[in-house]
Amino acid sequence: MSVANLSYRAVFSLVLKRDLTIAMRHKDDIINPLLFFVIVVTLFPLGIGPEAQTLSRIAPGIIWVAALLSTLLSLDRLFKSDHIDGSLEQMLLSPQPVFILVLAKIVAHWLITGLPLILIAPLLAVLLHLNEQSYEALILTLLLGTPVLSLLGAIGVALTVGIKKGGVLLSLLVLPLYIPVLIFATSAIDTAALGLPYSGQLAIIAALFFGSLTLAPFAVGAALKVSTN
C-alpha cells in the first residue's frame, strides 16, 4: 500500500505508534521529566518550611509551576531527534497534511509526559497537604491543562528546533504563553478548597484546550516549515 492513499486515521495512528515505540525504547525520556517534577516539588517544603498550613495554601501553585517546568524540559524531544536524523523533513515532504502528523506527535508527547504527571500528582498533593476537597479539581485541571501545555509548547519547539542552543530560548518563548493556564488552574483548585463550584474555571481551561487544539497544529506546521527551511 502506498503512503499516498492512507486515511487520516491510519496516518495519525502510524505516527502515534512510532513515537510511542521510540519513547518506550528511551525510557529515561519518560522518567527524567517526572523525576524533575517530583524533585522540584520536594524542594519547596525544604525552602519554605514544613508548616502544613502554609504548604496547603501554596500547594496548587507549586504543583502547577512544577508541571509547567517539567513539560518545558521534556518539550525538546518532541522534534529534536527527528530533526537531527532527517525523518522530520521526510514527514513534511509526505503527501499527508502536516496538521495530522503534528497532532499525532503532540498527542504522543502528552501521553509520554503529561499523563504520568497526572498519575503522580495526587501523591505529591499528599506531601504538600493539599486540601482534601481540592483533589478532584487538581486532577481535572491537570487533565485539561497539560494538553494545552504540550500544544503551545510544540509551537515553541517547532520555532527553535533548527537552532543549536534553543533550550533557554524555548523557555523565554513558551512560558509567557502558559500564564493563562496557570492562573485558571490554580484558581480552580483554590476555589475547590473553599468548597465553592469551580466549573467556570474548568470551562475556561477547556476553551483554552479546544482553541489550542484547533489552532496550534497549524502554527506548528508553519513553524516547522520555516525551521527545516
Binding site: 527553535t160 512560558l175 492562573i183 502554527a219 513553524a223 520555516v226 525551521s227
Partner: protein, 254 residues
C-alpha cells in the same frame, strides 16, 4: 486597487521613501514633543489630589499605549509577510521590536516611579502592571528569536509566527490577569488616578501623545532603513550608495 503599493515592495524604493519621510517626521516630532512636554511639565495645572507627581502621566500613558500599539503593528506586518511573502515586512517588524520593548520598559519604569509616591510601593501586582510585564516578556521572546537565526529571512518568518501567536494570546493573557487580580487581592488599586480630565490637562496630553507617536515613527524609519541596508548589502544599489557616501566623505576631508 492596491497597485500603487506594489513599487514599495522593492527595497530600494522603500529605502528612499523612508528617507524622504524622515525629515518631515523628525521636524514634527521635535515640534510636538517640545510644545507638549513644556506645556505638560511646566504650565498644566497640578492635580488636586496627586499634586505635581501626576505629571509623569504625560510620559507614562503614551508609552503604555504605544507599547501595545507597536506590538499590534508588528502583528500586522508579520501577517502581511506570511500571507503575501513581503520580505520588507519582516524588516519593518525587526525594526519595530526593540522600539516596542523599550517603550514597554519605559511604561513599567515610569509606572513604578509614579507608584512609589501614590501607592507607597514601587511594584504592585496590579492587573495592568502584570500584563505590561508579560508584554515585555513577549517582546523579548520575539527579539531573542530574531537574533537566534543566522539567516535573516528565516528569522523574520519565525519571529512573525511567534508574533501572531502572541497577538492571539495577548487578550487572553490580559483578561486572565485581570481576573486573577480581582480574585486574589480585590481591587485595592483599580483606580489608576484618572478622574475625567479637565481640558487644561487634556490638551498637553494630546500634544505629548502625538509627539511620542511621531518620535516612534522617526526611530522606526531610521531602523527600517538600516535593516534594509543590512539585508541587501550585496545588492548593487547599496554598493553604489555606500561608495558615493565614501567619496563624498573623502572630498569633505580634503
Amino acid at each position: 486597487m492596491w497597485k500603487w503599493l506594489h513599487p514599495y515592495a522593492n527595497p530600494e524604493v522603500s529605502y528612499h521613501f523612508a528617507g524622504k519621510l524622515l525629515p518631515w517626521l523628525s521636524a514634527l516630532a521635535v515640534l510636538f514633543l517640545s510644545i507638549g512636554l513644556v506645556w505638560a511639565l511646566a504650565f498644566a495645572p497640578a492635580d488636586y489630589q496627586q499634586g505635581d507627581s501626576f505629571r509623569i502621566f504625560y510620559i507614562h500613558v503614551p508609552a503604555a499605549s504605544l507599547s501595545m500599539g507597536i506590538y499590534f503593528g508588528m502583528a500586522i506586518t508579520a501577517f502581511t509577510s506570511l500571507v503575501w511573502q513581503f520580505k520588507l515586512a519582516d524588516a519593518s517588524a525587526a525594526a519595530m521590536a526593540p522600539v516596542g520593548a523599550t517603550f514597554t520598559a519605559i511604561a513599567l519604569i515610569t509606572g513604578a516611579a509614579w507608584g512609589k509616591p501614590m501607592w507607597g510601593t514601587w511594584w504592585i501586582w496590579d492587573a495592568r502592571l502584570t500584563s505590561e510585564l508579560i508584554l515585555l516578556f513577549l517582546y523579548l521572546g520575539v527579539i531573542a528569536l530574531q537574533s537566534a537565526f543566522e539567516d535573516k529571512n528565516l528569522a523574520g518568518k519565525a519571529a512573525g509566527i511567534l508574533t501572531l501567536v502572541g497577538v492571539i494570546n495577548l487578550p487572553i493573557i490580559k483578561y486572565s490577569v485581570e481576573w486573577w487580580n480581582t480574585l486574589h487581592q480585590g481591587s485595592t488599586v483599580s483606580k489608576l488616578g484618572k478622574p475625567s480630565m479637565s481640558v487644561d490637562m487634556l490638551w498637553p496630553f494630546l500634544f505629548c501623545f502625538l509627539g511620542f507617536i511621531l518620535l516612534v515613527s522617526v526611530i522606526i524609519c531610521i531602523r527600517f532603513r538600516s535593516e534594509i541596508l543590512a539585508r541587501n548589502s550585496i545588492r548593487p544599489w547599496v554598493r553604489t550608495l555606500v561608495s558615493a557616501h565614501l567619496t563624498q566623505e573623502k572630498t569633505n576631508a580634503v
